[in-house]
């Protein structure tokens, strides 16, 4: 299989591996893909580039048979095909590694892969096949491990092995690097290059420009559901591609030059919490402090305790001692979320739907969820509908949330607009300290920019801000200082601008699974500041 494709390389136009012609897909209220065309050649690493909401995932779901196009053609090896379901796609030789893994935590790696296969081979044969593929591409994975014990990078390897076992001729990767450390990203790129050299085409979805420049031969750019351009990343710059992606001149974030930080407003001292449940992570001796006007970024790969960190700060989980969390000098460690908000600490969790907001509730009610006490909605034991509605309205207007009004349900808003509402709801409470997790995840560039600017402005008014994010680029863009969270513990504080990506990457990866080695390595880095 490996060599046959190259032999046909001569008549490239007729031997396009995958072609989409005028593909369109509509959902209620949104045109996800509008007459999109695309050509992928054998052995090519083809980027599908676009910001959140551009239609990349939808397009790719149609290639993999999860959705069917409303109109347009899909051609495979030059022949028109109708891909009815994922099984049919796999039969053609299309494999896909999703952004969100389809794994079963309580089962082993081997069982998980077995479940993903269409054929029925014995577990022993399967294990042998898996080891062959792992060797071939230099991947490390133990088939007998239970999935819940694996890191995110290792889990992604399960998905990749699943796809590779099919001997794919087209491998689709959907935003694969959002969960990887910089070193793991390099490893992944090596694997993909090996695959492509063997004749497999790769369709690589991402919005990370520097990765695409490093890895891909061709880039197709989507914007607002439409095809915008096909270009050679090696010949373009980050900026030119970004502009094609966003379709406007890039707006830089404005920060007042020569900012001085005020006194310490928010500090955490020796915060430790035991782990909860089988899949939780313990927090180990968390220490940091943030001054007025300062933005502290918390970088790290998913699964290292970010959720536990957030719930400890927001008050959803109480600390063991009151002094472990201090706000404006007052110990608040044993207080709940409502009391913390009253004193001036607001928090925004990672999950929009079901945590930060309730989809079935109106925006007014969602506003009341967190603002009812601090913004004085209460009147004689009841929540004043008038005040709640007025506040929601204020947030909608101040943050240009696209909604029909305060009585729209949160679920009817797009991701970006809901995120703007949630951020606005907290920011307009003028907190002394704001802690926010993944502020722009899954949000289109326009809203993302507005949110970042709002955070920066809040800090400019003297608040202390903590931003937890898996997007290192974002943190480097607007944070003043940086820590890395790894296995429930924080690294030392670094000043943005003083530290290299490599160092951060090492801190993010830690030495996975080995807390002692991680500490040793962290200490080693302390001794050699850059």
């Amino acid at each position: 299989m490996a060599g046959s494709n190259e032999a046909l390389g001569g008549s490239a136009a007729a031997r396009t591996r995958l072609e989409l012609r005028g593909v369109t897909k509509r959902f209620p209220g949104v045109l996800a893909n509008d007459n999109v065309s695309l050509k992928v050649r054998p052995g090519e690493i083809h980027a599908l580039l676009g910001e959140n909401g551009a239609g990349k995932s939808t397009l790719v779901k149609m290639i993999y048979g999860i959705l069917a196009p409303d109109s347009g053609e899909v051609l495979w090896d030059g022949q028109p095909v109708k891909i009815q379901n994922p099984r049919a796609a796999r039969k053609l030789g299309i494999g896909m590694v999703f952004q969100h893994f389809s794994l079963f935590e309580a089962l082993t790696v081997l069982e998980n892969i077995a479940l993903g296969l269409d054929s029925n081979i014995s577990q022993r044969e399967l294990e042998a096949e898996i080891r062959r593929v792992l060797d071939l591409y230099g991947l490390k994975l133990d088939p007998q491990r239970i999935v819940s014990t694996l890191s995110v990078g290792e889990r992604q390897r399960i998905e990749i092995v699943r796809a590779l076992l099919l001997n794919p001729r087209l491998l689709i990767m959907d935003e694969p690097t959002s969960v990887l450390t910089p070193q793991e990203v390099e490893q992944l790129f090596e694997t993909l290059r090996k695959l492509a050299a063997g004749g497999c085409s790769i369709l690589y979805i991402s919005h990370k420009l520097h990765e695409i420049i490093a890895l891909c031969d061709v880039a197709t750019i989507l914007r607002g559901g439409k095809f915008v351009a096909e270009c050679d990343p090696k010949k373009e710059t980050s900026r030119s591609m970004a502009e094609l992606m966003i379709g406007a001149n890039l707006k830089e974030i404005t920060r007042a030059p020569g900012r001085a930080f005020g006194e310490e407003k928010f500090a955490v001292r020796a915060l430790s919490l035991p782990k909860v449940g089988d899949f939780g992570m313990a927090l180990r001796d968390i220490n940091f402090s943030v001054r007025a006007g300062e933005i502290l970024g918390v970088a790290g790969v998913a699964g290292n305790g970010q959720n536990e960190f957030m719930t400890a700060l927001s008050g959803e989980v109480r600390a063991l001692t009151p002094e472990s969390i201090v706000l404006g000098g007052a110990p608040i460690g044993r207080l709940g979320p409502t009391d913390r908000r009253a004193l001036g600490l607001c928090a925004v969790p990672e999950e929009r739907n079901g945590h930060a907001a309730v989809g079935d509730f109106t925006l007014t009610e969602n506003g009341a969820l967190t603002a009812r006490r601090r913004m004085h909605f209460m009147q004689g034991g009841l929540i004043s509908a008038g005040r709640a509605t007025a506040y929601a309205d204020k947030v909608i207007k101040a943050f240009t949330v696209k909604a029909l009004g305060p009585s729209s349900t949160a679920g009817s808003l797009s991701g970006g607009n809901l995120q703007k509402f949630i951020m606005g709801r907290e920011i307009l409470q003028e907190p002394t300290a704001l802690v926010v997790s993944q502020p722009t995840w899954g949000v289109d560039a326009g809203a993302a920019g507005a949110i970042r600017q709002a955070i920066v402005d809040l800090a400019g008014r003297g608040a202390a801000v903590v931003v937890v994010s898996q997007d290192l680029d974002e943190l480097l863009e607007f944070c003043d200082s940086l820590v890395v969270i790894n296995l429930g513990g924080l690294s030392h504080v670094m000043k943005v601008g003083d530290v290299s990506i490599e160092e951060i990457g090492l801190l993010m990866g830690g030495v996975h699974g080995d807390p002692v080695a991680t500490v040793q390595m962290t200490e080693a880095l302390h001794d050699h500041p850059i």
């Binding site: 939808t58 969100h100 008050g315 959803e316 079901g354 509730f361 009812r372 929540i383 349900t409």
Partner: protein
């Protein structure tokens, strides 16, 4: 041709209001069909069950008497069900409320005074609440599913009733029948008060329905109830304590059921016997769903179901259907209201000649 359900942008308020009515109407049709298939006079049965009690004023006191406990219990259940705390054992709490009130009556049987009745009622509320406190404790402390624990306690409560009316509380003048002594005048509530054909329980029920409505829709507690049910993580984020909510909802619904129980016992003159448990605790579950878990809806639905109870007895004599048949209608109503729930959040879309495609499951990606 494929029928698919497409998510609506916003839940349909029209459907929310219309579906309960449609469910009742459709139940009449289906019920008539089932009865007809088995060999009874279907349409006649439906007429007796649904319409006769409404159209015959002399039946209204009967309807009101049945509606009162149904509404009272259902109000508590509405609250609990919204919070996804499933109190299936309201029947047991109802019994314990009646027993607690009867206990006070037993202790004060040779006394008189206006204070006896309020004391009985208070005891009833406390009795029901205590019986509900057991599942609350088990759930918050031991993570025991409240559906099972509250339900098991119903069977235990039945045995407690059995024991008391065949043993310690047996009426000495009752010819050895398993029943308790009748209540004295201070311990009995009139069947009709203030010149209306309705018992005091009904007025209490309607008044409490309004109170519950205000609490559920406007109070901080009510907001918490609604969030805890829909999104537990958001509830915690908003500062609500889930365990506290479990206690509060179970105690309230237990207290309401207990109140219904003691009022019922006092209104009927107190002779508790093995036939006292009438399934109100279970029917109230249907009432709460038919009322869309809304206090005012529950008040209306309580009247509807009370009608079917009274009508069921009429049908028994006229059409000769067994008494258990009211359950078929009630269950059908519940099925239909649950089924039609889907139309509130989604609309039906019929797709002609499309290639079969694997449906997309909602994810929060682009």
């Amino acid at each position: 041709m494929i029928i698919r359900f497409e998510k609506r942008r916003e839940p349909s308020k029209f459907m929310q209001a219309v579906t309960p009515i449609a469910a009742v109407l459709l139940t009449m049709v289906i019920g008539a069909l089932i009865f007809w298939l088995i060999g009874y006079d279907g349409p006649r049965a439906v007429k007796e069950i649904f319409f006769t009690p409404l159209l015959a004023p002399y039946k209204w006191p009967d309807v009101a008497r049945r509606a009162a406990p149904l509404i009272l219990i259902a109000l508590g259940l509405c609250m609990g069900n919204r919070a996804k705390v499933w109190n299936i054992g309201a029947e047991g709490q109802y019994l314990l409320g009646a027993l607690a009130g009867a206990g006070i009556a037993y202790l004060t049987k040779s006394l008189e005074g206006w204070w006896i009745m309020p004391l009985m009622i208070a005891a009833g509320i406390v009795g029901g609440a205590l019986w509900a406190a057991i599942p609350a404790f088990l759930k918050t402390r031991y993570r025991v599913n409240e559906i099972l624990s509250s339900l098991m306690l119903v069977y235990v409560a039945l045995q407690v009733l059995n024991y008391l009316v065949t043993g310690p509380w047996k009426d000495p003048n009752g010819h050895n029948f398993p029943q308790s002594a009748p209540f004295t005048a201070s311990q009995t509530l009139p069947h009709m008060i203030w010149g209306t054909p309705f018992p005091p329980g009904l007025f209490i029920a309607f008044a409490l329905a309004i109170v519950f409505w205000i609490v559920m829709s406007r109070s901080e507690f009510g907001l918490g109830i609604r969030v805890v049910g829909d999104a537990p993580k958001a509830a915690r984020y908003a500062g609500y304590d889930a365990n506290k909510m479990v206690w509060q909802t179970l105690l309230i619904s237990g207290g309401m059921a207990g109140l219904a129980g003691v009022l019922e016992a006092a209104t009927q003159g107190g002779q508790l016997n093995l036939g006292f448990p009438s399934g109100y605790g279970f029917t109230a579950i249907i009432v709460s769903f038919l009322g869309r878990l809304h206090p005012l809806g529950a008040a209306l639905a309580g009247v509807v179901l009370a009608v079917t109870y009274v009508g069921g007895q009429v049908a028994q004599t006229v059409v000769h259907v067994p008494n258990a048949t009211a359950g078929i209608f009630q269950a059908t109503m519940l099925f239909l209201i649950l089924a039609s729930d889907v139309l509130v959040k989604r609309r039906i879309k019929i797709v002609w000649s499309q290639p079969a495609q694997a449906p997309q499951v909602a994810r929060s990606t682009t």
